[in-house]
């Protein structure tokens, strides 16, 4: 009875007979809610932390990827230029080869030809001398 009267007045007793303004159930629920909220906040905090590290990680990976990308790009360019360099080198070597060829031609073929011709004419001359005697 008294409880009802008190309840009307907005007062309640809990099971430990302590006087309460809220209904014990509500109070209980509130309390639970509070607990849950706290838990939730904690969890969210944890999540944020995790997400933070994740983002960091992804960032670093991105950086790495970027680096690699540039590297790859450079390598690709290098590859391209290498062919060009090779071409230039080839050209240089070719020039050296033609030069050498010309030199050898000059030195060996033409000079030798001339010498052979001279030898032949001298042999002919000697033969002629022998025949006449």
């Amino acid at each position: 009875m008294a409880d009802e009267a008190l309840a009307r007045a907005g007062l309640h007793f809990d099971e430990f007979n302590k006087i309460r303004v809220l209904e014990p159930e509500v109070a209980q629920q509130t309390k639970e809610l509070k607990e849950e909220c706290k838990e939730f906040v904690e969890k969210i905090g944890d999540f944020q932390k995790i997400v933070g590290t994740f983002i960091d990680m992804v960032d670093s990976v991105a950086k790495e990827v970027e680096k690699e990308k540039i590297k790859a790009l450079g390598a690709r360019n290098l590859l391209k230029s290498i062919t060009k360099q090779r071409e230039a080198q080839q050209q240089q070597l070719q020039a050296l080869i033609t030069e050498k060829k010309m030199q050898l031609e000059r030195l060996l073929r033409i000079q030798q030809d001339a010498l052979l011709k001279e030898e032949a004419s001298q042999n002919e001359f000697i033969d002629q001398l022998i025949l006449q005697k």
Binding site: Q92, A95, R106, I110, D113, A114, K117, F125, Q132
Partner: protein, 780 residues
């Protein structure tokens, strides 16, 4: 020939190097866009900074003040100075110690090039503003030579420092320094011309352009050589000081070429563009200014010489390999210093290094003769059988093969540094040098004493002489000098003339080159498409009609276009084709055999040889030789063999003359020297013959003069004169004859008896021999 290049591991300059210059053969200076002037010591490979230029100063070219001018002028040793041009429109004179002596505001925009004249009296600069300015030694403006619309990329001085060559876009321009002289210009390239050089020794012009070609020109603007197209523009060209070779620089390219244009060697160093090339004064080393901050150095090695069975090759800068082809024996000769010049010939190898001269005999390679050289820059070695000649900056020296200084000929105004193979000739007893200040003049010296011959009076020709030569054999008094003049006519004359006027006789026209044989007095010359060999050029002194018969012509077309004549050894002609290969061809060996017989007075053998060979030109040679030596029997046989009946008749007549002097005179007549003949007769007191000689030549005045002077045979002269006039149906107009005719009766009986008496007297003279014996004439 090859270039041995060396580059530093790391470039010493951080920016492109724009110019280099040598002071001594061991010291190089280089300037670059990093504003530094570096000094390179090549003996210990050290580099030091000479000077740091202000930040706004980017050098474009440098040129050291010419050494020869310095020695001649005030003797301020160590006051070496160079001119540096830069992009801020100034040129700076900087001393060797790095002190800026003067900085002169010269052009609007960059100064692109600057060169000292050879005599050191003037500096020329060319700028981006298209102007060319001449400055005095101290940097005062003398004149503005021209004003063009295009930047002047390169300038060069003419050999006499009185002309300037410069670039004008695709054109080359030669402008004399005189104010109103007309410039000579011609289109030279298809692209902008970037670099030019003009050599003082060979007077040839070299140009390189953006059309990737280099070309060689003569001073008339005629193209002598055009290279094939390179991959990149030609950025630098440079002649060696002696004008025998030149170097070409381009992107990653360094090329060494012969003066006629063909390439000795190509190097592809990793240098970037070579913007400037400089030769050391001895012409053995190159420094190049490279686009990547390097300075490239190169040595000329693998110079190859051949003589008979020996082959000498400069394998490294201080080493020569000699190979005897006959037995394949090789010798390795090492030297303490860099080899500058070497020459192989006449059984000796002469090597000039930067401090000493080594003389090796081809029979003994172990013990050379060595002597020290005063100046370490020999520019020319010439060899003869008994001695050789060295030319360096200060003079000409004749040394014997045992290393003794024989003499050192010199004349007023001699410039030894510009002598070349064309302007100096040597034989066993004579040195001939063409003057530079007056190109018509040739000085001849006795090679034993170094004294000028003929009282120091030089041989002077009517036209500028381009090329001279001396015959190598025979006796001293018959030495002949050959010369090719500016019109390319070949002349011959005797070196020693006694009394008489010097006769310079023309042998041929359009001669490109000529060379005497080393063993006998044969002369070979190159003309358009033909090689000419005079088996006995002396024939022109004996009998002009014989000369064409002693000439041998050979078609030069099998040897390619425009081959050069290099040598004439024994019966071998050595030619160089236009692309550089050396080839040899032979002539018949008989003329040289004939020469040797005649030299030893073996006339019977000579006749036998000619009979064996049965060739007209050999007989003609023998006829000329025998006539010259006054060997009448041989001459008669030889003339008979070439069907010269008139000459044979004449010789038979001569043989009948009892007096030796008269015979000599008649021989002189046969050679066409009537003046000599008369001189001989008068000297021997044969007045009558001298008079008759002039009568027969219709030289009436002289005949009468002689007759009157000696008071004999006046009536004879008058008689012949009368006969002559009667035959031509003329009356006497000559005053002197009219004068003497009076009072002298012409009685032919009397004249004939007088003549008979003269002949009788001759026959009775005690000196007369019987029949004409073999006149073992000493070839006086």
């Amino acid at each position: 020939m090859r270039l041995k290049t060396s580059l530093q591991k790391e470039p010493k300059h951080s920016e492109l190097v724009s110019c280099v210059g040598w002071t001594t053969p061991d010291e190089v200076y280089s300037c670059a866009d990093d504003h530094l002037i570096l000094k390179w010591n090549l003996t210990n490979n050290e580099t030091s900074t000479l000077l740091e230029l202000p930040k706004e100063c980017y050098p474009t070219s440098m040129h050291w003040f010419p050494k020869s001018a310095q020695a001649a002028g005030a003797k301020k040793t160590g006051s070496d100075v160079f001119a540096l041009t830069s992009t801020d429109g100034k040129f700076i004179l900087i001393s060797r110690t790095g002190r800026v002596e003067k900085s002169v505001e010269a052009h609007k925009g960059a100064v692109l090039c600057g060169r000292w004249s050879y005599d050191g009296t003037a500096l020329v600069t060319g700028g981006e503003d298209g102007q060319i300015k001449i400055w005095s030694r101290s940097g005062m403006l003398r004149s503005t030579l021209t004003q063009n619309s295009i930047p002047v990329y390169s300038v060069a001085w003419g050999p006499d420092s009185d002309q300037i060559l410069f670039t004008n876009g695709r054109q080359l321009v030669i402008k004399p320094l005189q104010a109103n002289a007309k410039p000579q210009l011609w289109k030279a390239h298809e692209g902008i011309i970037l670099c030019v050089d003009w050599n003082a020794v060979n007077n040839l012009i070299l140009s390189g352009a953006e059309d990737k070609r280099y070309k060689v020109w003569d001073t008339y603007g005629r193209q002598l050589y055009c290279s094939s197209s390179h991959e990149y523009p030609i950025t630098s060209v440079s002649w060696t000081p002696d004008g025998e070779m030149f170097a070409i620089g381009s992107f990653n390219t360094l090329r060494l070429c012969d003066r006629s244009g063909w390439s000795y060697a190509l190097e592809k160093p990793n240098t970037g563009s070579i913007f400037n090339i400089a030769w050391s004064s001895d012409g053995t080393q190159i420094a190049g200014a490279c686009g990547n901050g390097q300075v490239i150095f190169a040595n000329v090695i693998e110079i190859r010489l051949e003589w008979k069975n020996f082959e000498a090759t400069l394998t490294a800068s201080k080493q020569i390999n000699v190979r005897n082809v006959m037995n394949d024996a090789t010798e390795k000769l090492d030297f303490r210093d860099r080899v500058i010049k070497l020459s192989l010939g006449h059984g000796h190898l002469v090597v000039a290094t930067s401090s000493q001269c080594y003389i090796y005999n081809t029979k003994n390679w172990n013990t050379p003769m060595i002597f020290d050289l005063k100046e370490g820059s020999v520019t020319l070695i010439k060899q003869a059988e008994k001695h050789f000649l060295l030319v360096d900056g200060s003079g000409v020296y004749v040394y014997s093969y045992d290393g003794r200084l024989v003499c050192s000929p010199r004349f007023q105004g001699m410039k030894a540094e510009i002598f070349n193979h064309q302007t100096i000739a040597l034989c066993n007893d004579t040195v001939a040098i063409r003057d530079k200040t007056d190109e018509k003049v040739i000085y001849v010296f006795d090679a034993q004493t170094g004294k000028a011959m003929a009282d120091g009076k030089p041989i002077s020709h009517k036209v500028e002489v381009m090329d001279i030569g001396l015959d190598q054999c025979g006796v001293t008094s018959e030495r002949r000098i050959s010369l090719v003049d500016k019109n390319r006519d070949l002349f011959i004359t005797s070196v020693r003339v006694f009394g008489a006027e010097r006769k310079i006789i023309k042998l041929a026209t359009m001669i490109q080159a000529h060379v005497w044989n080393d063993e006998s007095n044969m002369l070979a010359a190159m003309t358009d498409g033909k090689i000419l060999v005079w088996y006995y050029p002396n024939a022109i002194y004996v009998d002009k009609d014989l000369l064409p018969k002693t000439l041998y012509e050979k078609d030069s077309s099998p040897f390619g276009k425009a081959p050069q004549l290099v040598g004439f050894l024994g019966s071998h002609l050595i030619l160089r084709r236009s692309e550089g290969s050396l080839i040899s061809t032979s002539i018949t060996p008989y003329p040289s055999v004939l020469h040797s017989y005649v030299m030893n007075n073996k006339w019977d053998d000579a006749v036998r040889l000619c009979r064996f060979v049965k060739e007209d030109n050999l007989w003609a040679c023998l006829a000329a030789m025998a006539t010259y030596a006054k060997d009448l029997n041989t001459a008669e046989i030889a003339y008979a063999s070439i069907h010269e009946a008139d000459k044979v008749q004449f010789i038979i007549n001569i043989k009948d003359i009892p007096v030796k002097e008269a015979r000599n005179a008649e021989m002189a007549l046969l050679c066409g020297n009537h003046q000599d003949a008369e001189a001989i007769l008068l000297q021997a007191g044969l007045i009558f013959r001298a008079i008759m000689l002039n009568v027969q030549l219709y030289n009436w005045d002289r005949a009468l003069e002689l007759a009157v002077k000696n008071k004999t045979h006046v009536d004879t002269v008058l008689g012949y004169r009368q006969k002559f006039l009667a035959r031509f149906d003329k009356s006497e107009t000559n005053k002197r004859f009219l004068q003497y005719k009076e009072g002298i009766e012409i009685d032919w009986d009397k004249i004939n008896t007088k003549i008979e008496i003269e002949y009788q007297k001759e026959r009775e003279k005690p000196t007369t021999g019987t029949a004409v014996a073999r006149s073992a004439t000493t070839r006086s």
